[in-house]
């Protein structure tokens, strides 16, 4: 009886390798750098291609303890959330690969304030940083331009860079040696279009990470899942403007849901609150990693531990 041949896809494309952070030798101050991307096959299919770098996990820290996070999440950091530098240290201690610093949309947020916060985080941790603005285009521009100047040479990821404000963010990244997080709203074409616009401004593709946006488990994750899967397949098929590592924020999405927030007043069938809430973040992240995420931004240290365990199990 003739044997079965293991079916291997002959992918022609490869995801670009992108390095976050810069050490002193490279013009920055990071203790180490993190490289993602480089895959020549779908997630973890090592029988047919290369997976040179495991997906990286970033932990989100805020300049101020956020008022809209559930207590479970704040308690998990054991008081470190009171001070952004402590929080960043705790994230590093918990095993994060990256620190995702996000600025709250608060009254004290200004360019000088952002510079000061960035300096404190840079000196508190040796991990490469992703920096998110408060999420309003004009304000993001103001904050991120200051951050880009202040962190010159650090190869920060500046986010989010969207179609409405990409010119300003890209110009800042170009001028100060940073990367951008190119976010488009859960659509293959819009992601690709934004990458093209950014690249047309002269930012090398090796300095773009794409952020296709996602929904949480139960709240539209299937859209994010398929968009990422399609982007990755397009990349492997040779479409150069999709050959970028992908960053998503399952932590933010999962901890917005009622399942992760409500300890009481929910059906008994939802089960134990703490287990369920963490499962929500873990499954949101693990599913997106299976669809091609290269960087996931998480919030809970236990989620970090379990997602890391899964990645290790898959990388082998």
């Amino acid at each position: 009886m003739p044997g079965i041949e293991v079916p291997k896809e002959k992918w022609s494309g490869k995801v670009r390798e992108v390095t976050l952070g810069a050490t002193a030798a490279e013009g920055g101050t990071r203790a180490r750098t993190v490289t993602v991307g480089g895959e020549t096959t779908l997630p973890f299919l090592k029988f047919e291609g290369e997976i040179p770098h495991p997906p990286a996990i970033a932990i989100e820290v805020r300049d101020q303890p956020p008022s809209d996070w559930p207590a479970l999440l704040l308690q998990a950091w054991d008081g470190a959330t009171q001070d952004v530098a402590e929080w960043a240290k705790a994230a590093e201690a918990a095993g994060a690969d990256l620190v995702a610093l996000r600025f709250n949309a608060s009254e004290q947020l200004s360019a000088p304030y952002a510079r000061q916060v960035l300096r404190r985080v840079l000196s508190a941790t040796g991990l490469p940083l992703v920096v998110f603005g408060p999420g309003q285009a004009d304000w993001d521009n103001e904050v991120l331009v200051a951050v880009a100047e202040e962190g010159k040479g650090e190869r920060l990821v500046l986010g989010v860079c969207e179609e409405k404000n990409y010119r300003t963010i890209v110009a800042a990244a170009l001028a100060h040696g940073h990367l951008v997080d190119a976010r488009a709203p859960m659509d293959v074409n819009l992601s690709k279009q934004l990458n093209i616009l950014i690249h047309d401004m002269g930012l090398p593709v090796e300095r773009i990470i794409m952020d296709p946006t996602t929904g949480a488990l139960g709240y539209g994750i299937e859209y994010g899942y398929s968009v990422m899967e399609r982007l990755r397949i397009a990349a492997l098929q040779g479409d150069s403007m999709t050959q970028l590592p992908m960053l998503v924020t399952p932590g933010e999405e999962a901890w917005r849901t009622k399942e992760a927030r409500a300890a009481e007043g929910v059906p008994a069938a939802w089960g134990d609150y703490v287990k369920r809430a963490i499962n929500w973040e873990v499954l949101t992240a693990s599913t997106l990693i299976h669809s091609g995420a290269d960087i996931v931004v998480l919030r809970h240290p236990e989620s970090l531990r379990r997602v890391r365990a899964m990645i290790n199990a898959l990388i082998g």
């Binding site: 293959v188 074409n189 690709k192 279009q193 093209i196 616009l197 479409d239």
Partner: protein
């Protein structure tokens, strides 16, 4: 001059002025000059020159360097204009048959001489006429309508029993007759028999006034559909019409438009509208429903059903159309809710279903309709493009009439535009330029392409404020690019294209591109199998293929595959007006065509978003545009011109 000098430079150094609208990229062809010694020059590009031009010794001054002694003649600007104008393929209605009115035309004029009645012959007037008809023309059966009967006696007597009968031998739904007496006119007036072919577009209504005896078009006219003030696309019109009493208003508005252009055409031919005895009407299903006063709401709602796809002929008086009241208005057959009579008419006009090679037919209007197939099979679909390509829904848009900017070039160094206006013949005769009033569809396409190629806008259509041009500014309606300053225009106001206009245009082109790509994919073929692209639509004839490809409206196929047919719906209506076999053929085409409902197809939205980019998200589908973009990035000639200025 040293060897290697560009002719533009040489001309400048000689103190003369030579216009280079595109900024010296060899894109516009407006700097063509005559050289007497081709051996003494070397040309980088001759893309814009025709075979004849080259043979005549034309070269592009911005693309040609001197390598020896040569005399350069700068032709007068008008000559360049004319040379460029002839690039456009003009609509010339050539009939695919030799017209024989006796054979083909169901409308006939029959001269009758009746025996006057007497005490001996007390036959009634109608029987008397029928008797003469049988004897003199061999027509035994004849019907008449009451209004015609009412005036019969008077006419016969006033004309002293010498009359001409206007007879309709048959209609498509009564192919065996019996013949109908439509009118009796005094005397033997058999020189002309008038008919009209009409295309009721969502945005533009056009009409041919035709002599049914010769088949000649005596006059034509077009006007915006007056319904436009009640909504720019079919959906808004349907929504408006479905409210109380509004259907009558919508019916009246389109009838007014038809009557207005009918009157204008008749005026040009020196006749009265009531002398027109037959009208064929092509239009999308919504337009036909509203014209007939039929409720159109079910067209909009799932599962998208019309009241009727093949309406019977109705008498003009019932609709209020100002041709002869008893004349038939024949609304041509449609396929489905969003593929109306204009499409079978267009296919008929294009003769696409006679051919063995796969062709793609595009009717680019407010409602973009398209057909793919060959003699064996035909699929069609429709998508809403909006009225931008007809110059409506765009702030400074206008129809392609006198004063419309119809082509634009932008200098890639200065971002200054040069434009061509559809001239006013009177001003032209006096050697005066015609000041612009607005931009028509072809002008908008050309403008969008130029803005994109020169980087005035990015691939998503955002204006680039880093250019430092005063023409890129924030206006009342957001970011805009000024095409003509108030000092140059007919009305003294700036003519500009806004970001909103740009978005509308990109949406319109994306809808059309998505439509035909999804259609091809859903039958399991792709555009590479297409041998001919037939472009119809009221403005189809004016589209510059190159620009339309650059913005991603048309697929990037070799130019020779494109054929511009002009208003094919109108042409189809004309064929149906003249030839009963063609009228019959229309019904067959309509029945054979497989309609695809794109709203049922998820991949449409997908294809649409990927086309919402210049020229397309997937640049690999547009290799010729990729080449132009690459050339822009590193154009040595551009640099040298920049350095010299």
């Amino acid at each position: 001059m040293p060897t290697g000098t560009l002719i533009v430079e040489a001309v400048r150094q000689a103190g003369l002025d030579l216009n280079i609208p595109c900024g010296g990229q060899g894109r516009c062809g407006r700097c063509a000059v005559l050289v007497d010694n081709r051996q003494a020059v070397r040309s980088r590009s001759e893309l814009r020159l025709s075979q004849e031009d080259r043979a005549a010794g034309y070269v592009l001054a911005c693309q040609t360097v001197l390598e020896g002694d040569v005399t350069v003649t700068i032709p007068p600007q008008e000559r360049i204009e004319r040379r460029l104008v002839t690039d456009r393929i003009a609509t010339k209605v050539t009939l695919p048959f030799v017209y024989d009115p006796k054979q083909h035309q169901p409308m006939q004029l029959m001269a009758l001489t009746l025996d006057p009645p007497s005490m001996d012959d007390q036959t009634d007037d109608w029987s008397r006429l029928k008797r003469a008809m049988a004897l003199q023309h061999g027509i035994s059966e004849l019907t008449i309508d009451l209004p015609t009967l009412r005036k019969l006696g008077t006419t016969l007597r006033e004309a002293n029993w010498m009359v001409t009968a206007v007879v309709e031998l048959d209609t498509w739904d009564r192919p065996q007759g019996p013949p109908r007496l439509v009118d009796v006119v005094p005397g033997h007036a058999t020189n002309h028999l008038w008919g009209a072919a009409v295309d009721v577009g969502t945005t533009t209504v056009s009409l041919y006034l035709v002599d049914l005896l010769s088949g000649e078009i005596a006059a034509q006219a077009a006007e915006y559909n007056a319904q436009i003030k009640r909504g720019e696309d079919v959906i808004s019109r349907i929504i408006y019409a479905s409210r109380n009493g509004n259907l009558q208003e919508m019916q009246a508005l389109v009838v007014d438009t038809i009557n207005q252009i009918l009157e204008r055409a008749c005026g040009r031919a020196g006749i009265r509208p009531s002398e027109v005895y037959k009208m064929t009407v092509a239009g999308n299903s919504t337009m036909i429903h509203l014209l007939l006063g039929l409720p159109a709401n079910s067209i909009r709602l799932e599962p998208f059903i019309t009241t009727i796809n093949q309406p019977p002929p109705v008498q003009a008086a019932e609709l209020g159309i100002a041709i002869h009241p008893q004349a038939h208005v024949d609304c041509l057959p449609g396929v489905a809710s969003y593929v109306g009579a204009d499409i079978p008419a267009g296919i008929l006009g294009s003769q696409m279903c006679e051919s063995k090679t796969v062709a793609l037919f595009l009717d680019i209007g407010t409602n973009g309709e398209m057909v793919l197939g060959d003699c064996d099979w035909l699929v069609s679909c429709a998508c809403s493009a909006g009225p931008a390509f007809e110059g409506a829904g765009v702030r400074d848009g206008m129809r392609a009439t006198v004063g419309a900017i119809e082509e634009v070039w932008i200098n890639s160094q200065t971002y200054e535009p040069t434009y061509r206006v559809i001239p006013d013949p009177k001003l032209e005769a006096q050697g005066q330029p015609t000041p612009p009033r607005g931009i028509c569809g072809s002008g908008l396409i050309s403008l969008l392409a130029e803005m994109f190629i020169t980087g005035v806008i990015d691939k998503a259509g955002n204006l680039n404020f880093d250019m430092g041009s005063p023409r890129i500014r924030r206006g009342e309606h957001g970011p805009e690019y000024v095409v003509a300053w108030g000092s140059e225009t007919a009305h003294g106001r700036d003519i500009a294209i806004t970001k909103v206009d740009i978005d509308n245009l990109i949406r319109a082109k994306a809808a059309i591109y998505a439509g035909f790509t999804v259609m091809a994919r859903s039958v399991g073929t792709d555009l590479s199998t297409v041998e001919r692209v037939l472009v119809g639509g009221s403005f189809g004839q004016y589209i510059n293929v190159e620009k339309a490809i650059q913005i991603g409206l048309l697929p990037d196929l070799p130019w020779e595959k494109f054929h511009f047919l002009g208003n094919t719906a109108l042409k189809g209506a004309l064929l149906a007006l003249l030839h009963r076999e063609f009228r019959h053929h229309l019904t067959t085409i309509a029945q054979k065509m497989t309609y695809l409902e794109l709203s049922a197809d998820n991949s449409f939205y997908e294809a649409f978003t990927s086309a919402l980019f210049l020229p397309h998200t997937d640049l690999a589908h547009f290799p010729s545009v990729a080449e132009v973009l690459a050339a822009r990035r590193n154009n040595p000639i551009s640099r040298s011109v920049q350095g010299g200025s």
